[in-house]
Amino acid sequence: MRVDRPAKAAEAPMSPAQGSLYANRVKVYPARVHGRFRRFKWAFLVFALAVYYLLPWLRWHRPGDAPDQFLLIDLAGRRFYLGPLEVWPQEIYLVTFLLIFSAIALFLVTSLFGRVWCGFACPQTVWTDLYMWVERRIEGDRNARMKLDQGPRNGAYWTKKVTKHAIWLVIAAATGGSFVLYVQDAPTAVRAIFTGQAGAWTYTFVGILTFTTYALAGWAREQVCTYMCPWPRFQAAMLDTQSLVVSYRAWRGEPRGKHKQGESWDGRGDCIDCRQCVNVCPTGIDIRDGQQLECIGCGLCIDACDAIMDKVGRPRGLIALDTLADMQACERAIAGVPPGPRRVEIAAAAHTPLKLIRPRTLIYAAVLGLVGLLMLGTLAMRETTELSVLRDRAPLFVTLADGSVRNSYTLKIVEKRHHDRTLTLHLDGLPGATLAGLGVDEARDRTIPLSVRPGSVATHRVHVFAPAGAPLPASTPVTFRLVEPDGREAARHASVFLAPGR
């Protein structure tokens, strides 16, 4: 995978415009690596996959008919359950808040630490890592895999390939299977899936997610990041000279060259050109060419290089998470100093401290805090009973035989609480007005009772009568109020009462 990178002209592996318009894929064989970043990557992988596969199995007792799954996107019932939280479709703006919150959080983290999302947390990275682990267990490390692919297509070859793809498919199916558990009761759904009782949509989605997991993590891998994903294209906008990015310290490494044990380090750089950083890279790039689109910032090249530096007896950090500002400071400090260990000593004093607090991060943090507060505030203040009133428009009003005027309204009462009760509907703003429900044998009265059922949206049609005789303006503002049995107001909604007028 070598496109678009600012390599030196002489090193460019191919010059595509002179040849085919289409590039063959250069298969990447990442080598095994040990180190800090690898350990963190493993830890996060286990954590992320555990959350993904196990979260649907977490139970949470809810009263009544509500489902007892901790996290459930109840498509059929049009509810989103998260622990004690129950979100209704009309509160979908909370999802908007959540998306904005996530986006700003991503911006903030990127401006601080570079592409940590890409390198550690992105599902594409996590599943690709898992798939590569399976691949390594079966086919061996980098060299063994390359030899296998170039070697004869014998029994051993096919046994390894078939085993690998079978395990990949099992993981993919588990991934697809887990996905559908988020939208239905997990124990029931799993039983239904295995007994063939689940619906066509369930199998379709399991199939789609199985296919995408297998294809993207098994086959496409780094191609997803370089060709499909929009994030690498604009994440550079969040970076500045103070952002930590995976950097090759050229001022220390160059001029690179092979090094024999016991040879002096004077007059040369610390890079021994072992290409370990290239070999372990999951996207197959050479970090020594500088920042590039394909780099997902996973830091595995840092682990590889640190191991080599330990071996040859040079200090770690030839490749490191570093800021552009620090790189430039070091370059200025060593200007004029000939290559060699002296440079490292001089630069050690010249390192600039990490500046986490700067206008960019402050603004991101402030917006993040604001959106978070808004989200919490909305959650805390959301109504448990909501009333909305829709006036009938055909007819606008009806004159009755005795000369009184009637308007009709459709009331929707959203009741999110979980107990039955009867609310009283009052009307303010129209003297002498009477109300009547539309049920069978309903009487006209100053107020009418409306029963609400827990967790429901009830629709009531209500007639409002203005007495004859009193001259009414063409439009009178009125307010419907729902009053709790204990006299507290549960909800209110403003509307108008129309009359012939004169």
């Binding site: 990178r5 595509p16 415009a17 289409y22 060709y227 055909a394 007819p395 009806v398 009755l400 035989a401």
Partner: protein
């Protein structure tokens, strides 16, 4: 834009030859698998063109091996919908009108079906919400009924219509044209009396003269105090609802040369289940008795 392909100094790759505000783009090749996906979609479309109606010919077109057409699909969909509706419509056909009104399931179904049937068949004369139209199209949402506002009354009216020639059982009433029977002054007096039924008379003497004529000519259909006689289809004259206007001039015009509306019978045009749903729907518009 002139296309000048040149070699990029840094990478040694060729550019696309286009330049935007001094920025040139490297001619980076597309991955091969991307190309293969394009070929796959072309192959897919070829298969699709064989399976489904596609190429035009001199007489007609290729019909596809599956025989699928949009028309047959819609027919199938309609049949599926009808099959789905059948059990509920059967229950509505069998139920008494009052049962429909009291059974929440039936009522909900009848309201939805009635609303659609009303918009299709009735709204042209009676308005989208049953509010009627000026010129003799009665308001169905008020509480004043010429032929009765019970479920049974409404059912009969919808089935047979009013004053039509198609249905022998149509509701029938005729008001004589008093312009040829009474003098102008007498008609004026009767109109004044009708005004007095709602307390709007301004000439007591004229109203008293009109009362005598009213007793002789009008009581049979409009009732002694103008309360209307539904069996005759005689509208009430003592309320606030006027089909052809309640001003004295309009009342006098209606006495002299009455206008009378016609409603077609819906039995035969609509099936019984639809008529029953319409009946319940009209009953709930606001004036049902």
């Amino acid at each position: 834009m002139p296309t000048k392909i040149e070699k990029d100094a840094v990478t040694g790759k060729e550019t696309t030859g286009h330049e935007w505000d001094g920025i040139k783009e490297l001619n980076t090749p597309l991955p091969k698998w991307w190309l293969y996906i394009l070929y796959a979609t072309i192959a897919w479309s070829a298969v699709w063109a064989v399976l489904y109606p596609s190429f035009p010919g001199l007489s007609g077109h290729w019909r596809g091996t599956t025989g699928w057409t949009q028309r047959s699909a819609i027919v199938q969909q309609m049949q599926a919908v009808e099959a789905e509706r059948a059990p509920m419509l059967e229950r509505i056909r069998a139920a008494a009108l009052d049962e429909i009104r009291r059974d929440p399931d039936l009522l909900q179904y009848a309201m939805a079906g009635g609303r659609v049937a009303f918009a299709d068949n009735c709204a042209a004369c009676h308005g989208a919400g049953g509010e009627g139209r000026p010129g003799g199209f009665p308001n169905l949402a008020d509480d004043s009924w010429i032929w009765g506002g019970t479920l049974e009354d409404i059912h009969v009216t919808i089935r047979h219509g009013i004053r039509n020639t198609q249905d022998p059982e149509a509701r029938m009433s005729l008001m004589p044209a008093y312009g040829q029977i009474l003098s102008r002054q007498e008609i004026d007096d009767v109109a004044e009396h009708v005004l007095s039924l709602t307390g709007r008379s301004t000439d007591a003497a004229s109203a008293a003269r009109g009362a005598t004529i009213y007793t002789e000519q009008c009581v049979a259909c409009h009732g002694e105090r103008g309360e209307g006689v539904r069996a005759q289809g005689g509208p009430a004259l003592n309320d606030a609802i006027w089909l052809y206007g309640g001003a004295k001039r309009e009342i006098a015009a209606q006495i002299a040369n009455p206008r009378m509306g016609v409603m077609p019978p819906w039995q035969g045009r609509l099936d019984e289940a639809t008529i029953r749903m319409l009946t319940v729907y009209v009953h709930t518009l606001g004036g049902g008795e």
